[in-house]
Symmetry: C2
Subunit: 374 residues, 2 copies
């Protein structure tokens, strides 16, 4: 069967769905790998590297006769409509938002997988692209902040005196937050972190950071994510967090509730109370933002601070973001492969969870509702 | 006596010669501190912070009646000429290049100190601004490289596979180089370093980096700096370094010989052999560059790599670069202060070394030669 890797076309997308290093795993399972010319360009992989690894590189007709299509962003609906019935796609696919893509896949009889919907069970960890990309985003968020901060991150003891370490506050201690904590600690900063899930306290402390305890009840949700909260409680939380924000040199926010608008954690007034030259990186900017006024891809002056809104942050580290994402996809494809054929077994919890359309039908109730509403 | 801190006027200079935190040390020694309005702006210090610390903030007439003038960059010759005879200036002052400033100081009877000329003896360590600013540059060089690199610095072991650490090569293991090594190691990279001085090997290794041994004799110079070498030997060194360069993801060059053109360590062809997406930061770009083709303040594509030429790199971390520089200047001023008066004792080795003009004369032979030649 023919597995096709397309060149991404959406703006700011620099990742690629397969890297040369992993071509052999698909070929070894009896699959043919075809790569659209230039697909790896932004992720620093030349066409020749894919060829050397055993793939065939083709032009814009890459999708002709495709059995499985791998991409980072969802395929364009026009390209989906041109696939054969029974073809498989695997990519990021926010199914309740990308309703045109889902409709095209349904109508073409395409089996579309959304990596966001891979269930968070331990057998699926190696396919969990939300986790792998959050890891990249957390690292990258701290590096961007350190590059912008007019101060050292580490304590510096010099003949000209001692410079104290930077104070970094991380809000949201999920995968991205924990990686941000670890990176800021590596660079020598003093780090505090907060999460609505009390369970995050231990992980935070194990990385050498202080856990901020607010006088609010915990909000443990399912799958390791936080539940939403009432607006009253949210305001109370913002008020209690404000003094921690204003005492920081760097604030990194990473709080997300999957498929929902990100919670607003920080009011503009709290940012305005920060020290001159402080840096705020809002990694949740694309889903509404944790910080009032953040704009994806923009660097704004807010009082004495710089507020940076993340926009496709994993794509800013394209080599390794692609490497990890490609491994997630390869693991998902191989889960469904036997005897050189990719045949999804919908009785498998992972396949079932991640599958959005199959055999002309939309498979999840909440996606069907979104389609009717759009 | 009146110590005046001026607002810097040169482009890209964001430091300030005194920070509010250190005002009290001068005031405590019986000196009056006057700050030109806006002097601390880029270094994140408001006028009010200086006032709160015990300084007086004044307008453009700040130099009227000045006894001691502190600045980062040399004062403009016009401002020097307007000082009273016997007034003191202390700043960076590359005396053989800034001949207009030296001439103006000589003619006005000003006692001008160059912090570059503070001797490298242990009693003068706390006044050594070359060291304190090199420390900032080394840290900053690595951060800039890490922010540009499309890969992780640290080894990452994840459910989606293991990502190897970045390979960082540091050329020149003086203060800036050692700080670059330490910062890259903090971030988890695998680091190698090279220096013409064999003595650098031990310090390099103590930071967890590998020391590159080339089959060339050592070039130990005075004051911890390297001596210059012949062009033949330099080419041989570039040829021997090339394979180390091409095996690196990140190259940071820091090699400088004070008052001379920086040695060319890396040919363009070596950079062209690096991996796609590699990053080169040439911290010596302003003095001629260690890497062929580097331009101060520019980010250039050289084959598969990005070549970044440093330009006033310490100024890019203005808060702490200013903090350390200010401590250097305060220590120099206090060395010359007793009973509320700043009176340079030219019999002191430090004062003698750093003093460029005094009592209408240029004090160092090599500076006099430069004046005659210009």
């Amino acid at each position: 069967m023919k597995v096709v890797v397309v060149a991404e076309t959406r703006e700011h997308e620099h990742r690629v769905a397969l890297v040369p290093e992993l071509v052999a795993r698909l070929v070894g399972a009896g699959l043919e790998v075809v790569v659209e010319s230039g697909a790896g360009r932004h992720a620093m992989h030349a066409d020749s590297a894919y060829e050397d690894a055993g793939a065939r590189v083709v032009g814009a007709d890459a999708l002709d006769g495709a059995d499985v299509v791998l991409s980072v962003q969802p395929l364009d609906p026009v390209r989906v409509a041109a696939l054969r019935s029974g073809a498989i796609t695997a990519s990021f696919l926010p199914a309740t938002e990308e309703t045109d893509v889902v409709r095209a896949a349904r109508d073409a009889g395409v089996t579309a997988f959304s990596v966001e919907l891979v269930p968070r069970i331990s057998r699926a960890q190696s396919m969990d692209a939300l986790t792998s990309q959050a890891l990249v985003a957390g690292y990258r968020g701290v590096l961007v902040a350190a590059e912008r901060l007019p101060r050292f991150f580490p304590l510096s003891m010099t003949a000209a005196g001692t410079v104290p370490p930077a104070e970094v506050l991380v809000l949201g201690a999920g995968v991205a937050g924990l990686q941000a904590i670890a990176t800021a600690r590596r660079l020598g900063a003093r780090v505090s972190a907060y999460d609505v899930r009390a369970a995050a306290a231990e992980e935070t402390r194990s990385l050498g950071a202080q856990f901020v305890e607010l006088d609010l009840p915990s909000l443990e949700g399912s799958g390791g994510y936080a539940r939403e909260m009432t607006e009253d409680r949210a305001q109370q939380q913002r008020d209690l967090l404000a003094p921690y924000v204003s005492a920081s040199d760097v604030l990194i926010t990473t709080a997300a509730v999957p498929g929902r608008t990100a919670p607003l954690l920080v009011d503009r007034t709290a940012v305005e109370q920060m020290r001159t030259g402080s840096v705020v990186v809002d990694l949740a900017a694309e889903t509404g933002g944790n910080v009032e006024g953040s704009v994806p891809g923009a660097e704004l002056a807010v009082g004495p601070a710089t507020l940076i809104g993340g926009r496709n942050v994993p794509s800013q580290l394209p080599v390794h973001a692609s490497r990890l994402y490609a491994a997630n996809l390869v693991n998902l494809v191989l889960l469904m492969t036997s005897d050189g054929k990719v045949t999804p077994d919908l009785a498998d919890e992972i396949v079932d969870g991640a599958c959005v359309t199959h055999d002309g039908a939309v498979r999840h109730e909440h996606v069907r509702e979104a389609l009717e509403g759009s």
